[in-house]
C-alpha cells in the first residue's frame, strides 16, 4: 500500500475517532490515544502552557510535563524516557488549538518518525486542533445559550424562593420550594433533597422534589457515612459529586426509592456553620453535567437565608420566651420564694419552653434514690411530688450528671428507670441538666420526649434554669443558715444575759433546755448532771409536747448511753439506735436516739446537754456542734455561780476571820474572843448553833461559849459541863485531833444521829482547837436542815478553831511574858533592897563603927600629938563623908524610906534632894502595892534626874494621884525637850517596868516645850495573872 493511501486511511480513522468526541477534553484524549495507536507510539500527549491537556503512555497523572514541553516542533533528535519502555524518539507538532500547545508522540527506539509519519502527525494535529477548537466554540455557544436559559430560569426560581422567604413562610415550605425549583432548573435532576445535619451523624431530609412527583423520602433520617454526597459535603463543607453511586450509597442518602446513579450536593451554611445539604440526584451514572455545583450554591445561599431568617425569628421568640421565663423564675428566686415554688415554676417553664412531654425536677438523695420535687406532664400521677424512684445502676448518663454535665439520650435507653419509663410512658428521648450546688450535683431537671430527640441546645437552655434552681436552693439554705445562726445567737445571747445577770444555775439550765428545744426542734432536750454513780440527774428538761420530765429525776448515764459516751470521750456523742440493755431502757423513756455534748467544769465532766428523738429518725447531723455552743455557756453559768458562791463564802469567812483576828490581836479577854468566834463561825457556816468546848480533867467538857440562831439555845449553857458521847462528834475530835462529822438523816440509826434528831437536828460537826500541839478544845457546829453544812464544810470550821487556838495561845503568851517581866523587875527590886540593906546593915554600920572608934582614939590621943589628932580628925571626917556617900548610893539603889514610909515620904525625900526646885503634889495617902510604889518612885526619880542632867530645866513639877484603881504619875519640866525612848535614856527601862505592871507610859517632849511623862498603872490585879 502506498504511503499516501496509508496516511489517508489512518487520518480518516483518526478523524472518525476524534470527531465523535462531544467535548474538548474527550477530543484531546481521543487525539493522543489515536495518534499513539496510529503511529505505534508508546506515549503521546498534548501539552500547553505547562499543563497536560491529555496524555497516554505514562502512569496516571505522572506525565512529565516539562520533558514533554521540551520537545520542540521541527526539531529532531529528542528522546523521552517512557517508564517500562525506555528511551523513545520524540516528535512534537504545534497545535493551532489550544493556544501554545503541542502534540508530542514518543516511540520506543531512537529512530524518529518517517517523513510520512511526520506528515500524518501534522495532519492529525491539525484535525485535533480544529476539532478541539470547534468543540470549544460549540461548547461555549452551547454553554452560553444554556447558561442564559439556565440563568433566566434560575433567576426566576431564585426570585420565587426569595419572595417566599421574604413572605416569612416556614422554612419547611422554603425547603420544598427550593427542592422543586432546583429540580426544574437542573434539567438532569431526577430528584432533589434538602437535608439537615443533626448532631448525631445523621441527615434529616426536610424538603424534597422528585421528577416522579413522589418525594416520599422527605422527613426520613439517614445515618451518614460511606461514599455519598451528604457525607462528603459534611466532611469537606464544599460541594461534592459522586458520579457512580453504589446502591448502598444511594440508600444512605435516601436519594430516591430508585437507584440514583449520580448525585451532586452543596452545603448549606448558616452563620458560618454547616447546617445541611442540597442534593441533586440523577438516575444516570454521569447524569449531572459539570457546573451544577455552582447553580446549587445559589440555592443553598437562599436556603441558608431562609433558615437564618427563621432561626433568627425563632431564636428571637425563643430567647424572648426563655428570657421571660428565666426572669419570672429569677424574680421568684430574688423574692426568696420557697425553693418548692421555684421548683414548680422551673418545671412548668422548662416543660413549656422545650415542648417536653414530661418534665421532672428531682433531688439526689444520699441513699441513691431520687426524690421528685416537681413534675409536669402525664407522669404527674405516676410520679407525684415526693415520689422516690430508683434510677438503677445502669441508668445512662447518671455518672455524667453526677460529674456536673448535661446528658442527652436520644435513643430509648435501658436501665431500671428507663425500663419503667419506657414501659409505662413510652418515652423516646430525654435531656437532663444537673443542679450543681457548691460543686456537687444536688439534683437534676430532666425533660422527656415521646416523639424523637429534644431540640438541639436543650441542654444549654435547661442549664440556665438549673442554675437558677441552684441559686434558689443556695439562697434558701443561706437564709435558713442565717436564720438558724441568728436564732442560735439570740438563744445564746439570752442564756448569756441570764448568766451575766447572775441568774441561779437552775434558771440557766431551764433556759438552755428550752432554747435548745426551740432551736433544734428535738422531741426532748435536757441538761443533765453526772452523779457519782452511773446516773445522771436531769437539772432541766424540755419536751416538744410540753410534758417536761421533772427536774431532779435520775436517768441512766453509764456505758451504752449517750451521756456515758460523752463522759467517756469528753466529746459530743450520738446514739442513733439504742441497742442491747440500753434499748429497753431507752424505749422505756420513749427514746430512740440521742445526741449529747459535754459540760466540762474546770476540766472535769460535770454533765451534758442532750437532745433525744422519740422516733427512729436520729437528730440531724451537726446537732452535736450546735449543742456544744450551749455547753460552754452552761459551764460558765455553773462556774460563775460556783465562783460567786465561793467568793462570797470566802469573803464572809475572811471577814469573819478578820474580825476575830482583830479581837485576838487586840488582846481582848479570851471570853470575849470566844463569844465572837462562835458567833462569826455560826454565821459563816450557816449552821444553827456553834459552841466552844474545853475538856476538863474529869472527862467532861465545859461550854466556854455558844451562839445559836434560836433564842433559846438548846443543850448546856455557857459555863455548864457535860460528858461527850463516845463515838459522837466531840469525843473523836478530842481523841484524834481531827475534824469529825455526823449526818443524821432519817436512815441513820446511830445513837448520836438519833440524839441529834431528838434535838431536831440533822447533823453536827466538830473541829479541834489545838494549842501548841495539844488539843485545847473543840468547836462544835450543829444544824437542823439537812445539807446545811456541805460535805467538807467541817474543814472550814478548822479555820476558826485555828484562830481560837491563836487567840488562846496569844492570851497565854501575853500573860506569861508580863509575868516574866514582872518577875525580873521584882527580882531586881529585891536585889536592890537586899544590897541596900546589906550596905545599910553591913558596910555602913562597920564604917560608922570605924568612925566612932577613930573618934574614940582621937579622944584618947595626947594633945601633944596634935599632928596625929589632926590626922585622925581628917580620917574621921573623910570616913563620915564616905558613909554619907554610901548611904546616898544605897538610897539610889532602893530607897529604904520607900519601903519604910511609902511613896509620899519617899517622893518628898527625892524632891528635897533634887538639884532642881520641884513642885510636888502627891495625892496617894494609902500604901500601894510595892511594885507600884517602886515603879512610881523610879519614874519620878529618873524623870527628875533627866530634867536636871539633860533637859537644862530650871524647875520641875510632879503630880501623883491614885484614883479609880489607877495610879497616875505625871512629871513635867521646863527644859529643852526632845527626849525619846531611843536616846539611851532610862525611859525604856521605865516603860518596861510600867508595861510589866499592865500600865502605860506616855512621853511628850517637843523641842523647847519641856518634857512631860505620864504613867498610868492599874491598881486592880484581878485580870492580871498572878506572878509566879
Amino acid at each position: 500500500m502506498a504511503g499516501a493511501e496509508w496516511s489517508t486511511q489512518q487520518l480518516a480513522e483518526f478523524i472518525g475517532a476524534v470527531s465523535v468526541a462531544d467535548n474538548e477534553a474527550t477530543a484531546a484524549l481521543a487525539a493522543v490515544e489515536r495518534a499513539a495507536e496510529l503511529l505505534d507510539a508508546d506515549a503521546a500527549a498534548i501539552v500547553a502552557g505547562g499543563e497536560i491537556i491529555a496524555a497516554v503512555g505514562y502512569p496516571e497523572g505522572a506525565a512529565p510535563v516539562a520533558d514533554l514541553e521540551a520537545v520542540r516542533p521541527g526539531v529532531a533528535g529528542f528522546l523521552l524516557e517512557v517508564p517500562g519502555v525506555g528511551p523513545c524518539a520524540s516528535t512534537a507538532v504545534t497545535l493551532e488549538h489550544p493556544p501554545a500547545s503541542t502534540l508530542v508522540v514518543a516511540r520506543a527506539g531512537v529512530d524518529g518518525l518517517t517523513p510520512e509519519e511526520a506528515g500524518l502527525l501534522r495532519g492529525m494535529a491539525r484535525v485535533a486542533a480544529l476539532t478541539m477548537r470547534m468543540l470549544r466554540v460549540l461548547d461555549e455557544e452551547r454553554e452560553a445559550r444554556e447558561g442564559l436559559e439556565e440563568l433566566a430560569g434560575q433567576q426566576a426560581a431564585l426570585r420565587r424562593v426569595a419572595t417566599l422567604i421574604v413572605s416569612g413562610v416556614q422554612p419547611s415550605a422554603v425547603f420544598d420550594a427550593v427542592a422543586e425549583e432546583v429540580g426544574h432548573v437542573i434539567a438532569a435532576a431526577d430528584v432533589t433533597l434538602v437535608g439537615r445535619y443533626d448532631a448525631h451523624g445523621a441527615v434529616e431530609f426536610v424538603g424534597g422534589w422528585s421528577r416522579e412527583g413522589d418525594p416520599s423520602f422527605v422527613g426520613s433520617r439517614v445515618s451518614l457515612g460511606g461514599h455519598n454526597v451528604a457525607t462528603l459535603v459534611l466532611e469537606r463543607n464544599i460541594p461534592a459529586r459522586v458520579d457512580h453511586l453504589t446502591e448502598e450509597a444511594t440508600a444512605a442518602t435516601a436519594l430516591a426509592r430508585e437507584w440514583a446513579r449520580s448525585a451532586v450536593g452543596a452545603p448549606i451554611n448558616v452563620e458560618g456553620r454547616i447546617w445541611g445539604v442540597v442534593t441533586v440526584g440523577s438516575m444516570q451514572p454521569d447524569g449531572l453535567p459539570p457546573g451544577i455545583e455552582r447553580q446549587l450554591a445559589d440555592f443553598t445561599e437562599l436556603v441558608a437565608t431562609a433558615i437564618a431568617n427563621a432561626q433568627a425569628r425563632e431564636e428571637l421568640r425563643t430567647i424572648a420566651d426563655e428570657q421571660a421565663a428565666l426572669r419570672r423564675v429569677a424574680t421568684l428566686v430574688a423574692e426568696a420564694a420557697p425553693p418548692e415554688a421555684v421548683f414548680t415554676a422551673v418545671a412548668e417553664e422548662v416543660h413549656r419552653l422545650l415542648h417536653a412531654d414530661e418534665t421532672g425536677l428531682s433531688r439526689y438523695d444520699p441513699d441513691g434514690l431520687w426524690t421528685v420535687l416537681a413534675v409536669r406532664g402525664a407522669m404527674t400521677d405516676s410520679m407525684p411530688i415526693g415520689f422516690r424512684l430508683d434510677p438503677g445502676p445502669s441508668m445512662p448518663g447518671v455518672a455524667q450528671l453526677l460529674s456536673g454535665h448535661s446528658v442527652r439520650v436520644d435513643a430509648p435507653p435501658t436501665g431500671t428507670l428507663a425500663d419503667d419509663l419506657i414501659r409505662a410512658e413510652d418515652l423516646q428521648a430525654w435531656v437532663a441538666s444537673p443542679i450543681v450546688l457548691m460543686g456537687r450535683t444536688w439534683g437534676q431537671v430532666a425533660v422527656f420526649s415521646r416523639h424523637g430527640p429534644l431540640p438541639t441546645g436543650a441542654e444549654e437552655r435547661l442549664g440556665h434554669f438549673t442554675e437558677l434552681v441552684a441559686t434558689a436552693i443556695a439562697n434558701a439554705q443561706a437564709r435558713e443558715d442565717l436564720r438558724t445562726i441568728a436564732d442560735e445567737q439570740a438563744a445564746l445571747r439570752r442564756v448569756a444575759t441570764l448568766i451575766a445577770a447572775a441568774a441561779p444555775p437552775e434558771e440557766v439550765f431551764t433556759a438552755v433546755a428550752e432554747e435548745v428545744g426551740r432551736l433544734l426542734s428535738p422531741d426532748r432536750a435536757y441538761v443533765g448532771r453526772y452523779e457519782t454513780d452511773d446516773t445522771m440527774t436531769h437539772v432541766a428538761s424540755w419536751s416538744s409536747t410540753g410534758e417536761n420530765l421533772p427536774v431532779g429525776i435520775r436517768a441512766p448515764g453509764g456505758a451504752g448511753t449517750v451521756s456515758g459516751l460523752v463522759r467517756e470521750t469528753g466529746r459530743p456523742a450520738r446514739v442513733d439506735r439504742y441497742a442491747g440493755d440500753m434499748y429497753a431502757a431507752a424505749r422505756e423513756h420513749g427514746i430512740g436516739s440521742a445526741v449529747a455534748a459535754p459540760i466540762t467544769i474546770e476540766g472535769r465532766p460535770w454533765g451534758v446537754i442532750g437532745v433525744a428523738s422519740t422516733s427512729e429518725e436520729p437528730p440531724p447531723t451537726g446537732t452535736e456542734e450546735r449543742l456544744a455552743k450551749f455547753t460552754e455557756l452552761v459551764a460558765t453559768a455553773i462556774a460563775n455561780a460556783q465562783a460567786r458562791e465561793e467568793l462570797r463564802t470566802v469573803a464572809d469567812e475572811q471577814a469573819a476571820l478578820r474580825r476575830v483576828a482583830m479581837l485576838v490581836a487586840r488582846g481582848l479577854a479570851a471570853a470575849e474572843i470566844f463569844d465572837a468566834v462562835v458567833k462569826e463561825t455560826r454565821a459563816v457556816l450557816g449552821v444553827d448553833s456553834v459552841a466552844l468546848l474545853r475538856p476538863e480533867s474529869d472527862g467532861t467538857v465545859a461550854v466556854l461559849a455558844v451562839h445559836s440562831t434560836h433564842p433559846e439555845p438548846p443543850g448546856i449553857p455557857v459555863g455548864g459541863r457535860f460528858t461527850p458521847e463516845p463515838n459522837g462528834v466531840i469525843e473523836p475530835v478530842l481523841r484524834t485531833g481531827r475534824p469529825s462529822r455526823i449526818d443524821a438523816p432519817e436512815g441513820n440509826v446511830g445513837r448520836m444521829a438519833q440524839l441529834l434528831r431528838v434535838g431536831g437536828n440533822r447533823g453536827a460537826a466538830g473541829a479541834p482547837i489545838v494549842v501548841e500541839g495539844r488539843p485545847w478544845g473543840v468547836m462544835l457546829a450543829v444544824w437542823k436542815q439537812a445539807g446545811a453544812l456541805p460535805a467538807g464544810g467541817e474543814g472550814r470550821l478548822v479555820q476558826f478553831t485555828e484562830l481560837v487556838a491563836t487567840a488562846v495561845a496569844n492570851t497565854e503568851a501575853q500573860a506569861e511574858l508580863t509575868a516574866s517581866r514582872a518577875r525580873i523587875i521584882a527580882t531586881a527590886d529585891e536585889t536592890r533592897r537586899r544590897i541596900e540593906r546589906d550596905l545599910h546593915d553591913g558596910l555602913q554600920q562597920r564604917l560608922v563603927s570605924l568612925a566612932l572608934q577613930l573618934r574614940a582614939a582621937q579622944a584618947v590621943t595626947p594633945p601633944d600629938l596634935d599632928e596625929l589628932v589632926g590626922e585622925l580628925d581628917d580620917v574621921v571626917r573623910g570616913l563620915n563623908v564616905t558613909i554619907d556617900e554610901l548611904r546616898e548610893y544605897a538610897r539610889g539603889i532602893h530607897p529604904a524610906i520607900l519601903a519604910e514610909g511609902g511613896l509620899a515620904p519617899a517622893l518628898k525625900s527625892l524632891a528635897r534632894r533634887s538639884a532642881l526646885p520641884v513642885e510636888l503634889d502627891v495625892r496617894a495617902e494609902k500604901r500601894l502595892p510595892q511594885p507600884i510604889e517602886v515603879a512610881a518612885y523610879y519614874i519620878v526619880s529618873e524623870a527628875l534626874a533627866n530634867a536636871a542632867k539633860h533637859a537644862e530645866a530650871s524647875s520641875a513639877a510632879v503630880e501623883v494621884e491614885a484614883a479609880d484603881d489607877v495610879l497616875r504619875v505625871f512629871v513635867r519640866d521646863d527644859g529643852v525637850g526632845g527626849a525619846d525612848f531611843g536616846r539611851g535614856s532610862g525611859l525604856v527601862g521605865l516603860r518596861d517596868r510600867v508595861e510589866t505592871l499592865g500600865g502605860r507610859l506616855t512621853l511628850h517632849s517637843e523641842l523647847d516645850a519641856g518634857t512631860s511623862i505620864e504613867v498610868k498603872l492599874p491598881l486592880r490585879d484581878e485580870s492580871r495573872p498572878a506572878p509566879g
Binding site: Q9, A36, L39, A41, E60, P83, G84
Partner: protein, 387 residues
C-alpha cells in the same frame, strides 16, 4: 533466601460446588496462595461453584470468568472448571473489579487497572484482565488501563465466553458473580512474566473502506451495506432465512483485519449481523475511514501462530523455565482448528511449557498489550508464561 513462587492448576467437572472444591484442591500446591484464576463453563451453578472454591481456598483473592471452552494440559474441555493458583512470596497480587462496565468501558478499564501492587522488590508486573466481551468496545478497556498504568505494565487477558451463545457472560471477583464487569488481578513478581500474542490469519481479497461505522457497528463498506459487501467478498449470497447462527459460524472463521503500520493486522471478530439494516457487529471498534480486509486462516497457520505466541511468552522469561502457562485462545481459532486441531494446539503448548501446568480458555476476545497503546485482539492466541 529466594522468594518462592508456585503455580498450580486443577480442573474438574460434575456438580458445581464439588467441582469447584475439587479443582481448587488440585490447584493449591501449597498454603500460601496469592491468587486464584477460575475459568469455567457457564453451565455451572456459578454461585455454588464459587462457594465450593472459596470453601477450600478461603479468602485468597479470586478472579475468573465463564468461557467458551476450558483449556488444560490434557486437552480442551467443556462443562468443566479450571482453577489456576499463583502462590509463594515471590508473588504479590491485588484484585479489582469494575461493575457496570458498559456505562463507561474506558473508566472500567481504568478502575480495574488500579490494583497493581506498588512493590519495588517485585519488579516484574502485569495486569490480568477478564472482561465481558459482549459489553462493547474492549479496546476502550485497554485504553483506560493504559491511561492509568502507562507503558510500564503489560496487560494480558481475555473476554469471557458463554459457549458461543453470545447472550450473557459472567465474571467472578472473590465471592461475586457478575455480568458487565471487568475484573483484574495486578500481579507483581520477582521473576519475569512473559506475554506472547499471535493470530495466524491472512488477508483475503481486496481491502474495503469503512465508509460508515459507529464504534463496533459497521454500517457500510465501500459505500455498500456492510453485511452484503462482506458476504460478497466471501462469494456468498445471503441465506433466505437470515440465519444468525449461520452468520456467526461464518464470521468466526472470517474476521475483519485492520491494517496496522507495524505489519500484523488487527483482527476484529465479527460477532453478528443485522439482517434488517445490513450492518455488521464486531467485538471491538472498527473506525470509520479505516481499511479492512476479510481474513481467513487454516489449521497450519493457526498452529504456527500458537507456537509463535507461546514461544514468545516463554522467550520473554529471560531463559527461565515457565512455572505455568495461561492461554487466552480465541474461540474463532477453535472453529478453524476443529476438535483434532485444538488437541494438537494444546499439545504444542504443553511441549513449550515443558511440563509446567497449563490453563486457559476459549475467549471472545484477547488482551495483550506489551508495546504501544493497542492491546485488544481478536482471533488471536495470547499466552502468559509465568517464571
Amino acid at each position: 533466601m529466594q522468594p518462592t513462587r508456585w503455580v498450580g492448576v486443577g480442573s474438574a467437572g460434575g456438580p458445581a460446588e464439588g467441582a469447584g472444591a475439587h479443582a481448587t484442591d488440585e490447584a493449591l500446591l501449597a498454603e500460601d496462595a496469592k491468587l486464584l484464576i477460575v475459568f469455567c463453563s457457564p453451565t455451572f451453578d456459578l454461585p455454588a461453584l464459587i462457594r465450593g472454591i472459596r470453601t477450600r481456598a478461603g479468602d485468597v483473592p479470586l478472579i475468573g470468568c465463564t468461557t467458551a471452552g476450558e483449556i488444560v494440559a490434557t486437552g480442551p474441555r467443556d462443562a468443566s472448571v479450571v482453577v489456576t493458583a499463583f502462590g509463594g512470596d515471590g508473588f504479590a497480587v491485588e484484585t479489582a473489579c469494575a461493575k457496570g462496565a458498559s456505562r463507561d468501558l474506558r473508566e472500567a478499564g481504568a478502575t480495574a487497572a488500579r490494583c497493581v501492587p506498588a512493590r519495588t522488590d517485585l519488579p516484574h508486573k502485569a495486569l490480568l484482565l477478564l472482561s465481558d466481551g459482549l459489553a462493547g468496545d474492549q479496546q476502550q478497556i485497554v485504553r483506560g488501563a493504559y491511561g492509568v498504568l502507562g507503558a510500564g505494565v503489560p496487560l494480558v487477558g481475555g473476554c469471557a465466553g458463554d459457549d458461543l451463545k453470545m447472550t450473557r457472560t459472567f465474571q467472578f471477583h472473590d465471592d461475586e458473580v457478575l455480568t458487565d464487569a471487568v475484573v483484574a488481578a495486578g500481579i507483581a513478581s520477582d521473576a519475569p512474566l512473559g506475554i506472547g500474542v499471535h493470530h495466524g490469519w491472512r488477508r483475503v481479497g481486496q481491502p474495503m473502506l469503512v465508509t460508515s461505522s459507529a464504534g463496533t457497528r459497521v454500517f457500510t463498506l465501500d459505500d455498500g451495506p456492510a453485511l452484503d459487501v462482506y458476504l460478497a467478498h466471501l462469494g456468498l449470497d445471503q441465506p433466505a432465512d437470515g440465519d444468525r447462527e449461520w452468520l456467526a459460524r461464518l464470521a468466526l472463521t472470517h474476521p475483519f483485519g485492520l491494517s496496522r503500520p507495524g505489519g500484523e493486522e488487527k483482527v476484529r471478530l465479527i460477532s453478528g449481523g443485522d439482517f434488517g439494516d445490513r450492518s455488521l457487529s464486531c467485538v471491538a471498534e472498527v473506525p470509520q475511514g479505516a481499511l479492512v480486509w476479510v481474513m481467513e486462516g487454516d489449521e497450519e497457520s493457526v498452529l504456527e501462530a500458537t507456537e509463535a505466541a507461546a514461544g514468545a511468552s516463554v522467550a520473554a522469561l529471560d531463559g527461565r523455565p515457565p512455572l505455568g502457562m495461561v492461554a487466552f485462545d480465541c474461540i474463532a481459532r477453535r472453529g478453524v482448528l476443529g476438535d483434532a486441531g485444538i488437541r494438537v494446539e494444546i499439545d504444542r503448548l504443553a511441549a513449550l511449557a515443558a511440563g509446567a501446568p497449563i490453563a486457559g480458555f476459549y475467549t471472545y476476545g484477547e488482551i495483550a498489550r506489551t508495546r504501544g497503546v493497542r492491546g485488544f485482539h481478536n482471533q488471536t492466541l495470547v499466552v502468559l508464561s509465568v517464571a
